[in-house]
């Protein structure tokens, strides 16, 4: 394990809004190929934490480093250029373009061609866009208008866009929100497979505990701005404090999982 490089290291991340500590001294690390879940009840500080990682919010104090390079306080676009891809809670794509064009735009940006006024985008990185779409199972939809896609497919497309700069780290904000149960499992399996194959580190927040306990290698539990637990799904499930916070819901998941296993 120690041979795997640290991708993301967060030290003492803190943010408060007018006396309210949204995030207090949060520190953790994420290794290549690891899938890490950030959970916690509403108002625990997940979103604030997440936004500081992706550059939409600036921490009061603390440091964030990606592969040793400081990203604290940098703009989202700068963080992307350092090899961090991301998806949004409500998928953000370009609805007036085709599926392939959506990915091509990201590739254009990755190839530093944004101010190219003269060549045709249609020919730009066409095959690479196709490969990324195949990877997420959207190859057959390449020429479809993005605005016509079902939401589950938009999510996959968004994943392909997020992978366009060959990221080392993927930040996913509630990746399965708004999806049907079956789509959730598919998307998370797909994400896990890509993460393992390309040894990408994945950090995701999530409300669906089934998704969390099935797909995360490790779980961070946030409550009132502070990390209260960290460990493997088994460890976290067994943590009394975590159970208390989730009002005993942990037991429920436990039982359901055992049922599922015996069925």
């Amino acid at each position: 394990m120690s041979m795997v490089p640290t991708l993301l290291s967060v030290e003492g991340l803190t943010k408060s809004y007018g006396g309210v500590h949204a995030v207090r001294g949060v520190s953790f690390e994420l290794r290549a190929g690891e899938i890490l879940a950030l959970i916690g009840p509403n108002g625990a500080g997940k979103s604030t934490c997440f936004d500081m990682l992706n550059g939409q919010n600036i921490p009061d104090s603390g440091r964030i480093r990606v592969l040793g390079a400081e990203t604290t306080g940098k703009k989202p676009r700068a963080i992307w250029r350092m090899g961090v891809g991301r998806t949004f809670q409500i998928a953000a794509t370009f609805p007036t373009m085709t599926v392939r064009e959506n990915v091509q735009v990201a590739l254009v940006s990755h190839g530093a061609q944004l101010f190219n006024l003269w060549t045709s985008t249609a020919r730009h990185a066409r095959d690479e866009a196709g490969r990324l779409l195949d990877l997420v199972g959207m190859g057959a939809y390449a020429e479809r208008p993005c605005g016509e896609l079902a939401y589950g497919d938009v999510k996959r497309l968004e994943l392909a866009i997020a992978l366009a700069n060959q990221p080392k780290l993927l930040l996913m904000d509630e990746p399965t929100a708004g999806m049907a149960p079956r789509e959730r499992v598919e998307l998370m399996r797909l994400t896990a497979r890509i993460a393992r194959e390309q040894s990408i580190g994945v950090l995701f927040t999530e409300h669906d505990m089934d998704v969390v306990f099935e797909h995360a290698d490790r779980i961070l539990v946030l409550n009132r701005g502070s990390l209260i637990a960290e460990g493997s799904p088994e460890e976290v499930r067994g943590n009394a404090q975590v159970r208390a916070i989730y009002l005993g819901e942990g037991l429920l998941y436990d039982a359901r999982h055992r049922e599922g296993a015996s069925a």
Binding site: R77, F88, P95, M97, V105, H110, S120, T121, Y141, P145
Partner: protein, 630 residues
Amino acid sequence: MAFYIVQFLTGLASAASLFLVASGLSIIFGVTRIVNFAHGAFYMLGAYVAFTLTERFSGAFGFWGGILVAALAVAAIGVLVEMVLLRRIYHSPELFQLLATFGLTLMVEDLVVLIWGPDDLVGRRAPGFKGAIDFFGQNIPSYDLFLIVLGPVVLGVLWLLFQRTRWGVLVRAATQDRDMVAALGVNQKWLFTSVFALGVFLAALGGALQIPRDAVNHAMDLRVIVEVFVVVVIGGLGSIIGAFVAAVLVSELNAFGILIFPKISIILVFLVMAVVLIVRPWGLFGKPEAPARRTPGLTVNPWRPLTVNERLAAIAVLVVAAALPFVAGNYLLTVGSEIAIFVIFAVSLHFLMSVGGLASFGHAAYFGLGAYGVALLAKMVGLPMIACLLLGPLLGLMGAAVFGFFAVQLSGVYFAMLTLAFAQIVWSIAFQWVSVTGGDNGILGVWPEKWAASPSHFYWLSLGIAALAVVILRIIVFSPFGFALRATRDSPLRSEAIGINGKRIQWTAFVIAGTVAGLAGALFAYLKGSVFPDNMGISLSVDALVMVLLGGVETVSGAVVGAIVYKALNIWLVSQTDLSKLVLGGFVVLIVVAFPKGIVGTLEAYMHRRRKSSSSAPSPLLTSRIESAE
């Protein structure tokens, strides 16, 4: 010292009327989310109606009663407008709302001239406030003191209205969350109508109260609307306190600016606005707006380059157009040249609006800068025509680079207002810097050289440049830059997350559009042989907007068709009627209400539907998906 105090008091007095109009605009925006461009028109109507009533009825009662009745009468007109027009467009994109209310403004301008004549009207003094008060040797009109008191009184009354009445609570609730108020069972229609009536009443009252101070004329609407936009942008749209503070600030800047920079005092105000917008884009007392919801009803058919057949067809059309000099006379060729020039102008705005999603309400500034660039180079430097045509548009480029930098920091209606304000700055410079620009008299004698002088040669030149501009802009649309620009328009969040610096992309687009507009202006200067401040006026900016919307804002180059149809119609109308603004305004309103997709957009939608229905069998893609799912 006394002089400065008097100057300060004069500023306060001007602030009262400005505050009335601005608070009305702000209240309407807060609840209906409509930026009512026609607010200036209601202000003007208030002044005209009050003029008539106060002339008709004598005495103090006649005067004050007349002012009140005028404001109420105009408010009633406002109710009518709200019920007949605005109710149809509450769900349209904000651009269409601005445009529809602008169409109204145009109509009112002509109606006012029709009813009251084109001359300035000087109203009578207010009974009881006719004299002046001596203040350490300086005179203050007592009417000014009345206005100084009136401003805070109106502010207080409005505050009581919003804090202490049930209606006020509903209005405040609707300002925060319209949908929630509707879900709670409040009659939205009635609420919107009453809010609009109050806003219009305040505007008309502001206009009516101006008659003892200023002459009533048919251009006062645009002058006040620009100032009011500045006030609400500084104060924050939707905030009444903000409107008050900003009205005072703007009026004082005007009052003292005139002492320091007599000719360019207006620029001082715009500078302050630019600073406020950069530091607090939502204004001093406003709240940051949530990211604008995506406008429903936008087509999702992705753009594609022309097919080979379509290209051949476009070339064929161009060849036919190029053959015009063999069949048409000089007048028709001059009209043809003008249309070609407006095609260039319209496609430049279309590029900014439909590809960039940035609806500029002051695009004529760059057209005019190009025209002045040519005129100055030709007359003062004496450069040959080719050099002028190449270098003149650079003035448009520079203007777009400076103003565009600030403008792209904003979006939506704020962007529209800022571009409009910038265009007004440029216009006032051209108007007031007489030693260089000739002021109102313009610069005359900018004639093309011999090789381009004949109508047919000039027509070919214009047509060629127009074709080139359209082709180049199309290439840019489909270039990586064009896609980055569309990406920024479609989803600022996503484009930022894939490393796109949206502001820089938009700024570049603004500069491209400004330069192409400058090229159109450069040609226009040679076509007319002269340039005037009106070459950068608001009505020209609106002409361009209408051309784009008429062609279809969701198309790649619908503006070409829009410009041809609109310009031809316009030239014909002006030759047929004196009421061209009335017809034009009505036309604008009609487009917005009846054909929001424009000519080319409507055609495309029709073709798309036909293609779809002809291939109504389930697509192979869909069937394979269903199979794989099973």
